[in-house]
């Protein structure tokens, strides 16, 4: 079964293109590494010098939240699936690591809170978390498996759009209820504290070395996460995801089964959220069911929306900017944060649907011009400057 092409085929001229691509990829990698080094080496001492040492910890937490934003961007920005339940995966990662930390006790002891509820033996599912390698795997694997299972059950029935969104939200509530209600298993509402635990013989909380290490880990995982998502989205699977967002029926009739692609990308983004959850938990000292609040999960979506959907950089920037705005505003005017957040939702959706980065790409140049008092550049449709046919003609006429 071969395709009969109707005209002699010509080898596409990819040589020049691929070299260009390689160069821009190198530049991008250089920028990312530069920024990472900046975050690792330059910013912490600067903040300490400015007497804002607390901010390092904050920055570390926000960087780990940016990892969640990457995942959300994958499923929402690229694939068009709006998950309102990523708090589940975030919390699963966080709980997994917190359980490991809680078990750093002399042999035979069990975590303090169990005695409050009269539990004397460690519940069975805590046992594996004595092992550090298991914990590391679980931080990623637990959310990934849960997401894959949930995703499979939902996607295989072609449930999508708002149905998918509200089902993920319901799942979130379910997990919240479960964790909140089970005092005897995982300390219910109070959550698990990690700052009093010890890691490698050091107390975790208030230990600059460990905190510094986790800050560095956040930067590292953000860079790795970015590189991974960048690889995914620039490959064929990235185009597949966009295709599913554009027209799922067409994808099906082209011979692909969208279900598995969606399950895959949902699981990946859950895994990213799990890593972020673990990093965040250690840096904030506690994980409680509150991280499965409805509001928190929707907020994750707005980070991506503010930065710009389907732009990975936008997701990261959005997460950092919104979270810093939140800290500053709620420190100053606690009552106004909700107003501000609500307005942010409304504005981003109505005025800036493609986010700041998207707006900057399309309108940025014109905006700068209008600020300088110049006239807007006339837009043509399709913008003539980019029309290959025009360029093609130009090149041919020149000869």
């Amino acid at each position: 079964m071969t395709v009969k092409t109707l005209e002699p085929a010509t080898e596409p001229t990819t040589g020049v293109n691929s070299r260009k691509k390689q160069r821009s990829l190198l530049i991008e990698a250089a920028i990312v590494i530069f920024l990472a080094v900046l975050l690792l080496v330059v910013i912490p001492p600067l903040l300490t010098a400015a007497g804002q040492g607390v901010r390092i910890n904050q920055l570390g937490r926000f960087l780990s939240l940016a990892i969640v934003a990457l995942g959300i961007d994958l499923i929402w920005g690229y694939t068009g699936l709006l998950s309102l339940g990523h708090g589940i995966f975030f919390a699963l990662g966080g709980y997994a690591f917190a359980m490991y930390l809680q078990l750093q006790l002399p042999a035979g002891q069990i975590p303090d809170f169990f005695s409050l509820y009269g539990v004397e033996t460690l519940p069975w599912f805590w046992q594996p978390f004595y092992s550090f390698p298991f914990t590391l795997i679980a931080v990623v694997a637990l959310p990934t498996i849960v997401a894959a299972a949930l995703g499979y059950l939902v996607f295989r029935n072609r449930i999508r759009g708002v149905y998918f969104s509200i089902l993920t939200q319901a799942a979130l509530i379910v997990f919240f209820n479960f964790f909140n209600g089970q005092q005897k298993l995982i300390n219910g509402t109070n959550g698990l504290k990690t700052d009093t635990a010890t890691l490698f013989g050091q107390q975790v909380g208030n230990n600059p070395q460990i905190m510094g290490a986790f800050y560095a880990l956040s930067v590292l995982f953000l860079v790795l996460g970015y590189a991974f998502c960048r690889w995914l989205t620039s490959g064929r699977i990235g185009r597949m995801l966009v295709a599913i967002r554009d027209d799922e029926t067409r994808v099906r009739f082209s011979g692909y089964d969208p279900t598995w692609f969606k399950v895959f990308v949902f699981a990946i983004s859950a895994g990213l959220a799990g890593i972020a959850g673990a990093l965040y938990t250690v840096q904030s000292g506690i994980i409680t069911p509150k991280s499965m609040d409805i509001a928190f999960s929707i907020e994750m979506v707005i980070w991506v929306a503010v930065g710009g959907r389907a732009t990975l950089v936008g997701a990261i920037l959005g997460a950092l900017v919104v979270n810093f705005a939140r800290t500053l505003l709620s420190e100053q005017y606690p009552a106004f944060w909700l107003f501000f957040q609500g307005a942010l939702f409304l504005l981003v959706v109505t005025v800036l649907p493609s986010g700041f980065l998207g707006w900057f790409r399309t309108e940025g140049a014109n905006f700068v011009r209008s600020l300088l008092g110049r006239r807007k550049q006339v837009m043509t449709y399709p913008s003539l400057e980019e029309d290959p046919e025009v360029q093609y003609e130009r090149e041919n006429l020149r000869d």
């Binding site: 080898e11 596409p12 185009r239 099906r252 009739f253 011979g255 895959f264």
Partner: protein, 254 residues
């Protein structure tokens, strides 16, 4: 070129009691170019939905190359070798024509294939050739939502061919095209018919006359008559369903 590529037996599809397709029997030879016409609501699109697995038949069976299609879902049927073009052009708007074609052309259509698969040079050549064929080579690398309607139609047909199906189902390929474009699409289909079996649903009688060899007329969910263009045009039942009951003779359809 022998044997039936598509056989449909006693097909009935009902939605809440309304029979969109009613006890329909139909068959198509391998390598045939068949045109299906019929007034609005004759069940043409539902007919295609059933073949491609989008709708499951209430009763009856569909055989493709002797295989009952009932247990297969859309993507599996597509992989078996049935390609479908929709009424309105449906291409991936945010991708470029080249990427559109590459997706359709790829051999490994699972997650792993998409993750690690690189398009082979044979695939790249096919894509480049197709771009030439459908006349989109100069616009191969701009987003498809910037293409005109006719270009999108051609792109979608190109995507169909890239799938290398044995049977092409083409739903109203010339709707909304200029005469010149219509003729181009007609030529394209005729050229494709050299190596594929094609079923075309169309309203445009000029176009039907350009490409048709055998015509099937659907009416109220079943086959009204079948034959070559002249036979069909002179069939009184066809004239009746298209033009209404005629008192006097001498009127011709189209």
């Amino acid at each position: 070129m022998s044997g039936k590529i598509l056989e449909i037996e006693n097909l009935t599809v009902s939605f809440d009691g309304f029979k969109a397709v009613n006890d329909l029997n139909f068959s198509m030879d391998e390598g045939e170019l068949r045109v299906v016409i019929g007034p609005n609501g004759a069940g043409k699109t539902t007919f295609m939905d059933v073949i491609t697995g989008k709708t499951k038949p209430t009763e009856g069976r569909v055989y493709f190359k002797g295989k009952n299609l009932r247990p297969y879902s859309e993507h599996q049927i597509a992989r078996l070798g049935i390609g479908r073009k929709f009424q309105t052009p449906r291409v991936f708007l945010k991708l470029t024509p080249r990427e559109n074609l590459e997706l359709s052309c790829a051999q490994k259509k699972n997650v792993l294939g998409a993750l690690f698969g690189q398009s082979s040079s044979a695939e790249r050549r096919t894509v480049a050739g197709l771009l030439e064929t459908i006349g989109l080579a100069p616009k191969a690398d701009i987003a498809a939502d910037l293409l005109s309607h006719g270009e999108k139609q051609r792109l979608e047909i190109g995507m169909l061919v890239a799938q290398s199906p044995d049977l092409l189902l083409v739903d109203e390929p010339v709707a909304g095209l200029t005469d010149e474009e219509t003729e181009k699409v007609g030529d394209l289909l005729l050229a494709l018919a050299e190596s594929h079996s094609i079923m075309v649903i169309e309203h445009d009688m000029e176009f039907v006359r350009q490409i048709a060899r055998t015509v099937t007329v659907l009416h109220q969910g079943s086959v009204l008559c079948e034959g070559n263009m002249d036979e069909v045009q002179n069939d009184p039942r066809v004239i009746e369903v298209y033009l209404g009951k005629q008192e006097e003779d001498g009127h011709q359809a189209a």
